[in-house]
Symmetry: C2
Amino acid sequence: MSAKTPAKAIAQGMIAAECLCARHGVRLTNLRRAILEILLAAGAPVKAYDILEMMRDRGQRITPATVYRTLEFLLQNGLIHRVNALNAYISCTCRHDDNTLLMFICSECQAIKEIDDHDLYDYMQKRLEKSGLSLRDGCIEMQGTCRECMR
Amino acid sequence: MSAKTPAKAIAQGMIAAECLCARHGVRLTNLRRAILEILLAAGAPVKAYDILEMMRDRGQRITPATVYRTLEFLLQNGLIHRVNALNAYISCTCRHDDNTLLMFICSECQAIKEIDDHDLYDYMQKRLEKSGLSLRDGCIEMQGTCRECMR
DNA sequence: AACACAATGATATATTATTGCATTTTTGTC
DNA sequence: GACAAAAATGCAATAATATATCATTGTGTT
């Protein structure tokens, strides 16, 4: 419905997810597939209860607990990210096999951009280590303004 | 009670807050003072409903709405920060007069460290501008592991 | 005192998330 | 295939976090 993402990209995302789950030795069930697909299609942060509604609209009988459990699974396996600033979830667009993540959130339009800048990440890592802090496997969430909202 | 922070530091924080409010032309009321003091004393992230309880323990009749309104005021005036990763609030320890903020959260022990590293901030800013993103007035929340929890 | 405005009180409700236990589905073993 | 064990899901209740709305109180100005 609100498919902001081209069908092709969604399909690719699903295939990538299948591969990843196979490698991890975990099961990508229909429920998990369905919720991941919603997130892939949205291409934007989606709230847990919105996912719940979308699933119900599709005729699924489902409760919050199930949604959150499924999100937890997808998070664990690096297929999606949680956007703390928005209490929302977004499908992962980077191909980081590690858990490292640089995420930029536009405070104006809520758009999310994953930053695939390993140099920057490494620099931050190095810089923080001077204060005895390790970014290893860490998430970084930055808020600012995107180009469109800047003008 | 749970005063992790020396009384002297709390007092200093309060004075700084008074000054700042005076400069901003806003009122640091008793309620606001009380809640700021709780946060200063804690020296760690505190949840809204914990603040509510502490206030009630002190004999104040107070509701969630009031707590959130007060937190909002303190946030607006840069006296505290919201820790999105924890749904919690912490008194500001840096003296940034701007809204820029680099915050590090230990995923193990939940300790928060404000990073006062303008070089790092500027570097990130510059780096992000290449992607059309502006960190101006933005918050950065990083999760990782602190020295103590590393071993 | 009268007024305007900011702050707080009070009630209700919305939003986000988890717990615990029952049931179903899948997997591995015989 | 039959079975037991484990994983996934269903279901109900409830916890935790946050906001909206309207009434009341306090503060500063004239």
